[in-house]
């Protein structure tokens, strides 16, 4: 449902479709399990949300939670590809994804993760 790939030594999760709340929760578990199962073979996590036309507070919360949980496990997360209207909407609502590293696209996200090594 949510493809989890290994790219350039990192975990790449591309959120392809609009998410129902139950799928969002599964997403979080899937990312954490992928980190665990990789047993150190991957360094960071790139979450690509290019395809998301809507990020409401629930999805935003899960993104922030997932990054915080991954950090506790010893892995950094970068969220990439946020659309302009999504960024505008989140800030208008008063939510700026505090504590979540973001980058413009997958390349920039991977470059940031590599720089943290």
């Amino acid at each position: 449902m949510i493809p989890i790939l290994r790219v350039a030594g990192h975990i790449l999760v591309s959120v392809q479709t609009e998410l129902g709340d139950d799928v969002v929760a599964q997403f979080q578990d899937a990312v954490l399990m992928a980190i665990h199962e990789d047993r150190g073979r991957t360094d960071g996590i790139v979450i690509d949300i290019t395809a998301l036309e809507v990020v409401d507070t629930y999805v935003a919360r899960v993104l922030a939670d997932t990054a915080a949980m991954a950090k506790l496990m010893g892995r950094r997360t970068v969220v990439v590809g946020m659309r302009p209207e999504v960024a505008a909407t989140l800030v208008q609502m008063g939510f700026t994804l505090p504590g979540v590293q973001t980058a413009l696209n997958i390349d920039d996200g991977i470059a940031w993760l590599d720089a943290q090594r």
Partner: protein
């Protein structure tokens, strides 16, 4: 040519209904000619408020209708439930109010995304939120 008023009602009793309400609002917003930012604002507010109907109100319905006042076109969304209601509306609207696994910003955040926002709630009887977004013309 004056577009005919359109009205849709979506029943919200499951998570999938929240997604359906969001899609319906999005389609109608695009049809009315809202720009990408306004479409995202409407869709996001619909997601927040429809989720409240499902999670806090125990289910209900969303009515989405087009409005026309002179040259202005608008989209009006009404979210109704017969749940426990909100004891302290002011507090709920201030944001940061803890809710079930959301940020507590859903209600206050939605208010900032629309042009008109009206919340009426009676403890024990339910909650009704009516929001309007106007096109910029």
């Amino acid at each position: 040519m004056t577009p005919a008023a359109v009205s849709h009602q979506v029943s919200v009793t499951t998570q999938d209904d929240v997604v359906a309400a969001r899609r319906q609002a999005r389609a109608m917003a695009i049809e009315l000619g809202f720009d990408a930012f306004a479409v995202a604002a409407i869709t996001t507010a619909t997601s927040e408020l429809a989720r409240n109907v499902f999670v806090h109100g125990g289910g209900g319905f969303v009515t989405i209708e087009t409005l026309r006042t002179g040259e202005r076109l608008g989209l009006c969304l009404t979210f109704c439930d017969e749940g426990p209601g909100i004891e302290d509306v002011e507090q709920a609207l201030q944001g940061g109010f803890s809710t079930k696994r959301s940020l507590g910003l859903g209600l206050s955040g939605s208010r900032r995304l629309v042009d008109e926002f009206e919340l009426t709630s009676t403890p024990g009887e339910g909650t009704k939120v009516r929001v309007v977004k106007w096109t910029r013309r």
